[in-house]
Symmetry: C2
């Protein structure tokens, strides 16, 4: 049995995503396709533009059979934590045979060899990395440079390929492979070359625009251009959600909530939060007072090393109070459940198999999340399971407060929204 | 030497306030007049419509010689805590000879006798109060009914006067007198009959409109009506502040900041906050999830006993994290400093006297607040002094985030704004 796994955000679902699903299926010819998808907040430290339920619904319309939620604590981490969580879910449900992800280099050997370096952390590599970081480079850049330098030193690959790799941006791909090592997973991985725009390209590039560009178009109300860039059903659901007042949701709307919260926090509070290293606690405490807006605040904090996106993730973590202690546990122990967001007929069949095979509890009725834990005989960490799941529901409750119409803003949506069962031609 | 003390919010300063100053001066013929005024937030649990510096400036223009800030921790409490703090400041600066306040009954004997009951808390009075509270009455109403019933029982006053008092709303007056007892103060108190609108009357009543009605007019941009209701100089300063982008500030703008914060708080967090009694922690945790807006939230919480204003104060305290433990200390130990906001020439002379006589440190240069403490030989509680003052500056930093123009929103205004020295005809 072939089960294809993909790792996605679909924020929102666009033509590039559809292309990725189709190409992956052509490559694997799977019996089932399962996606693990970010929930209410994304890896860029932002709230998703529309809610997770509708994004899961769109995914089912475009060839995914089952959508699982990537827990908030992983979905909002850097590439390493994100990959560890996402691969962890796919590994632990214990049915996925193949993972396919987009890659710029699509150089399988490179991905494996660099992932091995990251996994094993040879002493010489660490030394080079340290030098790069001291130069003030951001962590992803320092790591990339250190990897390449180390690769050259040990003659890991021939010089021409190294050159190609220098131009690419395969951090996430390397992290997926590394996470497979970490989980000692037997899942096969495959890459397909990315097409179209970079994921963070801001400009409209016609029918292969990036999610970032599409969110900008949505903000500007450029609906004709949005329509070009996303499949018809995605367009319909996005319009439906917005017309019903459940979006579009933008990070900028958190300005006052963030600024008031951060002015109320002290250095000691920041220092407990995941990712606050090297005096950032002092800088947060000081700069939030000097800044008149969230944008000014982030501009004041930004350095080569602490990029906009990284700071935005840290702010999200500070807002939600994700401590170093908690996140260490999260990252060491990995995902403790698989939350089901949507499926089609084929997904329902897969769920039957999952119920027998999964190594972590499946949550399809969130209101029963405590009962599911009590009845489970699996080896999971109860406390972590509860805290992790409560962060998912809490983040959805915060996300809902950003909806445009206040009658849509009530909380506990996780307990009210049913798992979406979608009839599709494919199923 | 006669020094008149008044206790005010001036949110904003209107004709009724001017009348009060003039009448008080006619009554006392003071050498100096000092006001203790709420800072960035008021007794109704709201941010002040314009900042404390400008409100102090207006006060000086209208006959006050020296404006001191009522610390945030007292300014935002119920009548009892508010009075204790305000009378405490006036008492501890050790020069005020007379306090004058508005009163509906203006019945001196009634005020003294009821304040004595509140101060001494006779057993029978407590018993009646308990019965009233059990009936679900709000604390102020239960207390009023209990006082009257007890007064009848012990034939404290003749029946006709009791009837008059039943119609009036002298809670704050009684609390001022009670606070004088508590502080064992020799300050004389005087009442003058209130004129014009009730302080919480929402409708425009011409040139004697309430502050509440005036704030509503400001929100609606009814500048011609505002002009009728406030003295010319008050009007000018309000317009100046708003045109420079420092206001008008309204509580409603805290909606998302409050709602996100409160959804992130758990029952255990609420239960630590000042004023959270009888399962309110559970109700806050539950209802904030059900509510789509701050107004809906407060409507869901409101009962006869927990009024809108009381809940709004509790929310403010929860937002700022004012714990039961801290507030107990605040109320037992009283104000630990007198912060100077503005003065005129006569006020400057008074300050010279104050420097010799005051029992608490005077803070005129806030950036030196730690040094002032170190150099002081007064018997004050250092830890409380620091925490109390830091709440003032913090609340000003939060208030500033509600300004209309973001370049005005930077924090640490307490350390940037100079004490306002105002030349007036009077000085």
């Amino acid at each position: 049995m072939k089960v294809l796994g993909v790792i996605v955000e679909y924020n929102p679902f666009h033509n590039g995503h559809l292309y990725h699903i189709k190409s992956s299926k052509e490559l694997i010819h799977p019996d089932y396709t399962v996606a693990v998808m970010s929930g209410s907040f994304t890896q860029r430290g932002e709230p998703a533009i529309i809610d997770k339920f509708s994004r899961a619904e769109i995914a089912i319309h475009h060839g995914i059979d089952l959508v699982l939620e990537l827990p908030f604590v992983y979905a909002t981490q850097d590439a390493g934590g994100f990959a560890r969580g996402a691969v962890g879910v796919l590994h632990r449900i214990n049915v996925v045979s193949d993972i396919v992800f987009g890659s710029e280099s699509a150089d399988r050997e490179f991905l494996i060899k660099t992932a091995e370096i990251l996994h094993k952390q040879p002493w010489r590599y660490q030394e080079i990395l340290h030098t790069k970081l001291k130069k003030g480079l951001s962590f992803p850049n320092a790591r990339k440079e250190a990897l390449l330098e180390y690769a050259k030193e040990i003659k890991l690959l021939d010089p021409d390929r190294i050159k190609n790799i220098e131009r690419s941006n395969d951090i996430l791909g390397v992290e997926y492979v590394r996470a497979l090592f970490q989980h000692e997973s037997n899942i096969e991985f495959h890459t397909i070359k990315r097409v179209g725009a970079e994921y963070n390209e801001r400009e409209f590039k016609g029918n292969l625009s990036s999610a970032t560009a599409i969110r900008k178009l949505i903000r500007e109300g450029e609906w004709n251009l949005v329509r070009e860039a996303v499949p018809e059903k995605s367009y319909e659901v996005i319009r439906r959600e917005i017309s019903e007042g459940r979006g579009p949701v933008f990070w900028e709307e958190l300005d006052l909530a963030y600024m008031t919260r951060f002015r109320l926090m002290k250095r000691e509070d920041f220092s407990k939060i995941h990712g606050f290293v090297e005096g950032l606690d002092i800088r947060f405490e000081r700069e939030v007072r000097k800044s008149g807006s969230l944008m000014e605040f982030i501009e004041r904090l930004k350095t080569k090393r602490f990029t906009f996106t990284r700071l935005r993730r840290m702010m999200l973590h500070a807002f939600f109070g994700l401590t170093k202690e908690f996140m260490k546990d999260v990252n060491q122990k990995g995902p403790q459940y698989a939350r089901i967001l949507a499926f089609n007929k084929r997904g329902r069949k897969l769920l039957k198999i999952l119920k027998k095979k999964s190594e972590i509890p499946l949550i399809s009725t969130p209101s029963l999340y405590k009962k599911i834990l009590e009845n489970s005989e699996m080896e999971i960490d109860s406390e972590l399971y509860l805290k992790m799941f409560e962060m998912d529901t809490l983040s959805t409750d915060i996300h809902a407060l950003l909806f445009k119409k206040d009658f849509q803003r009530s909380g506990e949506r996780d307990f009210k929204e049913k798992v979406r069962f979608i009839h599709t031609d494919l199923s």
